[in-house]
Symmetry: C2
């Protein structure tokens, strides 16, 4: 076969490779799609954190000259998508499909951004796990041959989120120390067919593990970490079970935004199930703001894991400082209505395995 | 090759077939996935409409014995998924992936249903076009080999939707004649690999055309038909352009819920672009309630096109009464906040081509 002489896989042997499904919740990509570019834009407070220097853009205020925070959030999402495409020398018209979501009712940030970007649009919502939901979907669509270049984009905004989920920030309500600070920002990641990412130093998406909803009965909207930790642990455990991998196969298993309260719970749950991740387990909600006491337990928001991946982890995978990362964004799937109706908070986590190296 | 002797395609010639992308917005399935089962459950008013006899279940009231309409909507979604899986002799544990969405803030109906069903869950939201968004995604995931059986499920509820988008129904606000009645109900469609749907009389999903956001400046939340018609026309036109098909290739092009106001607008827009669909163009929002004056312009809601497809169109495709249908669900992507902030209503439509016949 041609593969023998050229060293490149042909359509024939691609179709004959290992199965694409492993276990109950994981898919494996035969010719892993490349994260060809990523971009992260953030608000001023976020720019002052330890990752400040890595972001593509730090806005001087949270309104961006717009009439409302909602409009500002939309602008950020558009800017992030344009920036990610731009890094690959592309414009929105070169993107085949846009997976986008955010935390606002009816994901309006994504909807209005898609209106401006004019890319065929599939709205997704799994709260702060929307990032890895989108990356998993993007990888399937690209690896399956249905698109060449797909962008996953997520956003959140401290002021739009507080107003919607808890209290308007103008109200000045105090928050307990278990609460987290919703990141103001947006991230976009371009996933491309390996053939179209020549010269890009990776990483590649090798696996996606799609989570189930886990709800241990937590009802406090000011304690998302406790609510989401069991979902994170469930998906991580499933990923290792499904793939047969072991903790030492990863340099980092990084959860979405469990922060100070949630991360120790997830670590403990995993250890009880025989998975000791030790120092390999990290959390974007802790990485984002460092030890800033103003954010209480840490960062959160759909943009939290998105911006950490695009601005901080992606370059380190490219440079080979990390060989393999399991990215596990976590989402709290409640609404103000379900909270007011006394419901507990269902949570979910999706994982994607990122591997350093060019196609 | 083996295909010559057995008549069955092998992996080798499958991979060598026509490309999976056609045009800018359309994907074509090489070995079209089968809609192996569908189920539709509805409220009492819906059960009294002309499609009443076709639904799998008509509940005697809109609360289903639950404490809130939100809980009742969730119960409907769970019932629909169980019913669709049950028709294929399966339970939720046999489903690889659940794409689900609804109209409520943070798609909580889908989230809480996924908690109960315990299926790996990917939340989607494109308002009332969520159905075809999910079917297109399901078909890619199944055709791509990442899952064997995927369920797309959608729901809406008159009372939860009115409270959230306009006025609580208890308030008794009068609505203008351009308004539509949100269907109380849920639908679930099981999409399976052809090899696993032996004995099922189809139909199969041959194409999906993913829409772009179209916004012509309509701001009236009581006139969704006018807002959505241009998006429907855009996606339909794109589908015909991308595939090279002509109107006579379809027995029916059926939009989601344009109803009395929107359907003539879409028909006119298409005609001006040289696409005269004549009697082939129909609308679920008109089919659903017939000429019931209480619903004003017609039906709407994520469950509208979903229940019409599952209960009415699917059996007719199986019986061969329709050979090919283009299903074009339409969504209005606004929120109460964007309306109150004076924004216009961005809209979208996704299309899937359904073809009669067993695998």
């Amino acid at each position: 076969m041609e593969a023998v002489t050229t060293g490149k896989p042909t359509v024939v042997d691609r179709a004959m490779r290992a199965p694409k499904r492993v276990g109950r919740q994981t898919v494996r990509f035969q010719d892993p799609p490349v994260v060809a570019a990523g971009a992260a834009v953030v608000g001023p407070k976020e720019g002052q954190g330890p990752l400040g220097a890595y972001f593509d853009r730090v806005y001087p205020d949270t309104l961006l000259g717009e009439q409302s925070w909602e409009r500002a959030e939309c602008r950020m999402l558009v800017d992030a998508v344009r920036a990610a495409a731009g890094k690959a020398g592309l414009g929105p018209a070169d993107i085949d499909l846009l997976f986008a979501g955010d935390l606002l009712n009816q994901t309006v940030t994504a909807n209005f951004a898609a209106r401006e970007l004019d890319i065929p649009f599939l709205g997704i919502f799994n709260a702060c796990s929307t990032l890895t939901e989108g990356l998993g979907l993007s990888a399937m669509v690209v690896d399956g041959g249905y698109a060449d270049r797909v962008v996953t984009a997520v956003s959140s905004h401290h002021d739009t989120a507080e107003r919607q989920y808890r209290f308007p920030t103008e109200f000045g309500a105090q928050k307990p120390l278990t609460s987290q600070w919703t990141v103001t920002g947006a991230a976009a990641l371009l996933v491309a067919r390996p053939e179209l990412a020549a010269g890009v130093a990776g990483p590649r998406i090798t696996h996606a593990t799609f989570g189930r909803v886990v709800d241990m009965g937590v009802k406090d909207p000011f304690d998302m970490g406790s609510a989401m930790a069991p979902a994170a642990a469930d998906t991580i455990r499933r990923h290792f079970e499904d793939t047969g991998r072991r903790p030492e196969d990863y340099d980092l298993v990084v959860t979405g935004d469990l922060a100070q309260v949630g991360l120790p719970i997830a670590r403990d749950l995993l250890r009880r199930q025989g998975l000791d991740l030790a120092d390999r387990l990290a959390d974007c909600g802790l990485i984002f703001f460092g030890d800033d006491p103003q954010v209480h337990a840490g960062a959160s928001g759909a943009a939290c894991s998105g911006t950490v991946l695009a601005a901080y982890l992606l370059p380190r995978l490219r440079e080979g400082r990390y060989r393999r990362i399991l990215m596990v964004s976590t989402g709290a799937l409640f609404s103000k209505t379900t909270y007011q109706q006394g419901e507990s908070i269902p949570c979910i986590a999706h994982a994607v395995a990122l591997e350093a190296g060019a196609p």
